[in-house]
Structure formats: C-alpha cells, structure tokens
C-alpha cells in the first residue's frame, strides 16, 4: 500500500481514507470473500444496540433513480453477542476498527459505552449513530436536537477515552448546529451524512413500497447534499469530518476531501459492486502519484467562489 493515501482523523491514523459505512458491510465476513479488507482505512460495524433487534418488517428496500431507500431498522445481534462473536474477527481484518453505536435513549448510549470501553485495545473509534431514520425512538430524534446531542456526547466523553465520531442526520434545516453541538460536547470527529428520509409509492396498491412507510435514501443521488453539508461544516468546525453519501469512484472521494473531509465512507456502492474499494484505492494512488500530492493534503483545498 502506498503511504500517499495515508490520512489522519484526529489522532486516528488510517492507511487509506476509505472506510466501509455502517450497515453496508455487516462485520466484514461477507465482503472479505471478495477482497482483502486490509486495504481499507477502516470498517464501521453494523449499528449495534444494547439488546438484539429483529429490525423492521419487509418490504425493506425500494429502488429509486440513482439510489435506494432502505428501512432495515437497525437489525443487529446486540452488543454482547457482537463482543463475543464478531469483535475479534473485525480486529483480525487489518483495517481500522470502527464500532457503530446506536440506541433509543440517553441511558442506552451510556450503557453501550460501558460495554465497549473495556475492549478499547480492539477498537479504533466509536461511531455514534445519532441519525438512523428507521427506528421510532432515539437516533435521528436525538440527532436533530443540538441540545440533546451536546448532553449525550459530553456524557459519553466522560465515560471513555476512545475517539468519538458522531454520525449526523442530514434531515435538519442547518447541519452546522448539530455538528457544532457534537464538537462542543467533546466529539473527535463528525460523520456526514447518514441517509435522507424518503418515501416511495406503489401506484398499483396506493401504498408506500416500504412496510415502514419511510426509509433512508442513499446512493449517488444524495452525494451533492452530502458534499454541501461537509463544506458548510468544514467552514465552522475545528474537528475533522468524515464524508459519506453516494461515493462510488475516486473522483467522488476527491470531491468530498476537497470540500473538507479527512476520510470518507463507502456505503451503497458496496451493494452494487462488492469489490469497488479495490479500484477506488488504485485510482486514488494513481491520482496522488500523477499529481505528486499526498492525499491528506487535499482536505479542505476547495476554494469557494
């Protein structure tokens, strides 16, 4: 691997800016059948909760123009099962180990930190999901209120020395407010963006396609929204930004980084081409070699008009 694509997110050093986004890579088992995940900067686990969750009823997916809606609803085996069965596996992959933490309440998030903090030698960062649009309580409802973000992040900050990356929802009027609240609470980075809340209609049945009525919109269609939010936040934040939303090529990565991202997450693209990070990695290295520029220098080089 070329050191040209090494990046840093706060104190976390990553060999590549590419992180697999939570909910699109499970815990790594399936994608490791397609490529060696050690080429990645990191892998963010499926969103975990204190208790196992069966998730939402199907239909859980609707295809849209240049994207898709999902309403999985945080199906996961629970944090205890994860620690016992999957954490060592994630540790063995040879890429950054990011654990995605979700919850329904303040207490849930605190309990999750207590469960995970003792395993800090196998964790590079906790990605705090304050943004899932597919569960009835917690997550997005907490993540759209800057006061709640501040109180939850500052309380977590007291409980762990692990880097806290706060994944925010784009379903707000001004993304800077929740990002600044996370920073004030002691976050090490923000992850922008989780999915956009959307809906699709089956015109034959006059029903929503998704059994949950609404779902999270992802894929190339959301990329401009995500880049705009990264750019807005880069101008006001002191902490690093991890960009996420519709990335499927090396050009997409560069756009996000120029707008202010220190690293990026690849999500929906893995569902279409499982090994796409292999090509993106090669293309990024070629770009750096051609431009004689280490990738980390690209962050925030966008000159706004």
């Amino acid at each position: 691997m070329s050191s040209l694509i090494n990046v840093k997110v706060g104190n976390v050093e990553l060999k590549s800016p590419l992180i697999l986004a939570s909910g699109t890579c499970n815990f790594g088992h399936e994608l490791s059948e397609y490529y060696d995940l050690s080429i990645l900067g990191g892998l963010s686990s499926k969103g975990l909760t204190i208790k196992p969750r069966v998730g939402n009823e199907g239909v859980r997916v609707a295809e849209t123009a240049s994207g898709m809606l999902n309403s999985v609803g945080l199906q996961n085996p629970g944090v205890d099962y994860f620690i016992e069965h999957d954490l060592d596996y994630m540790d063995s992959l040879g890429c950054g180990r990011i654990i995605n933490v979700a919850g329904h309440s303040f207490e849930d998030y605190m309990a999750m930190i207590e469960k995970l903090d003792p395993h800090k030698d196998k964790i590079d960062a906790l990605e705090i999901n304050l943004s899932c649009p597919n569960v009835k309580a917690g997550c997005m409802s907490i993540g759209s209120d800057p006061e709640q973000i501040y109180s939850i992040v500052s309380a977590m900050r007291e409980k762990t020395s692990l880097p806290l990356w706060i994944k925010l929802t784009p379903n707000v009027t001004d993304i800077k407010a929740p990002a600044l609240a996370a920073q004030k609470g002691g976050a090490d980075a923000v992850v922008l963006i989780n999915t956009l809340l959307g809906m699709a209609v089956d015109i034959k049945t006059r029903r929503p396609v998704l059994r949950n009525n609404t779902g999270g919109y992802s894929g190339p269609a959301v990329k401009p929204v995500a880049i705009r939010m990264v750019s807005e936040c880069y101008q006001v934040l002191d902490i690093p930004i991890i960009g996420c939303g519709g990335i499927s090529t090396y050009e997409d990565v560069l756009e996000f980084m120029m707008a202010g991202a220190s690293a990026v997450e690849i999500g929906t693209a893995s569902l279409i081409h499982p090994a796409c990070p292999v090509d993106i990695t090669k293309d990024l290295i070629s770009w750096c070699e051609k431009n004689n520029e280490p990738l980390k220098n690209v962050t925030g080089t966008l000159k706004l008009w």
Partner: protein
Amino acid sequence: MKKEYRSVVVFKQMLNQDTAFIILSCPEIAASAVPGQFVNISCSGFLKRPFGIASVNKNAGTFSIGVKVVGKGTTEIAAFKEGQEVSVLGPLGNGFDLSSEKYILVAGGTGVFPINFAHETLSSMGKKHVVVEGFRTIDQAVMTDDSFILTTDDGSSGIHGNCCDGLNTLSEDDLSDATVLCVGPLPMMKAVSAWAEARGLSCYVSMEQRMACGIGICLVCVCKIKAEKEGMPFDHKRCCKDGPVFDSKEVVW
C-alpha cells in the same frame, strides 16, 4: 476470492409473452453452481436483479436463467440481445441438499427454473424423483416435460387444481421417504409445506424477497425464521445469504 463477472448473453428465447429464457457465458459460475442458488444480474436500474439458476452446461461454460417480466428491470433483462455483456455476481446463496435418495420437486410460477436445475442434476445423479408443476393457465406453462405432473388453476391442461392437487395423485412409492423441494409463490410454498408436514416428509422451500446486494451485507431481503435464541419473537434471516433455501419447518409462515 469471489468475483463479479463480465458475462455474455449467448442465447435468448421468449418462452411466452412475458417470460424469457437466457443463457449466459461464465465458466466459473457454470463450474460451481448447485440447484437452488441464484445470480444477481445488472441492468440499467440502480440495483442488480436476482434470478434462480435454471441449468448449467459445464462443458460450454454457460448457465441459464428464466426471466418473468414484472417491472422495468426485468423488462430490460428479458429484452437482452445475444452478444450483450452484463455484470453478474454468483453463484449466490445456499442451494438444495441433494444427498437424499428420493425427491418430490414442486414448482410454481418462476420456481420452474430452479426446479428444472434440481431435476436435471438429480437425473444425472440417477436419483428417483417426480416433478409437479402448477400454473394458472396453460398459457403460463413453461419448462414443462411429458414426465412431469402438470396442474392448472383453470383446468386448461393437466390436473384441474393447484400443486397440492397434483401432489395428491402421487403413489405411495413416490411418497415414502421422499424429500420435498419447493419453489414458487409464498402461498403455494406454505400449502406444500403443510402438505409435506401432514405426511411426515421433509420439505425445503426457496424464499424470495425484494433484494439489494445479494451477498448478505445490506439486510433488506429478510424472511421470518423461528428464533434460535430465547426471548426473540423470531429471527429475520437473509434470503440471499442464509437462504434462499430453508427447512419449511423453520419458516414463520
């Protein structure tokens, strides 16, 4: 390592007005696929589309699928031209266990395609089996064979009734110690599962759900399976990775 393959359409034929039979070249898939597995095929839509494998020809390095037109993606795939290149993931999912000595194969709708692969494989293994196919009308009947038991809902051909009416005509010799493999619409698989259970026969069904990745990472194509752990109402298992074949007794119908 598993791969996404570039595959070429080598043959396409419309079996009826809205069902295409397509043969694609891909030596790797032809060499390793087993009945019950599927492939995920690209079209101009955002997501790939899953199809049960209908047959393989290892010598030619090809496999086939059946495509019933249900939406924009399948309309486009059914219109594929010979020579066209497509991106394919596969073979995906867990196929049928063919280690028993005797089988009853039951197919409805597009289930006739994966059941055909099971039929061809069991024939080549020299294993005794009967095939029951159910259609709404004779116009819908595809992948039929004189040796199969055919049923139609409207009585336009074969036995007037559904698959279970066809199964009821089987002899004691066909039934004893047979394993039932069933692919078709959910109500049909539920009925066949109950029919098999009432006769003490093992039954395996191939579950279907709207799918995205096909490889087990997105968790959108789940079906309800009886819970392994106490305290859970049921498990949501992935059709693509944990299935599509499940023991019918494990399915929460």
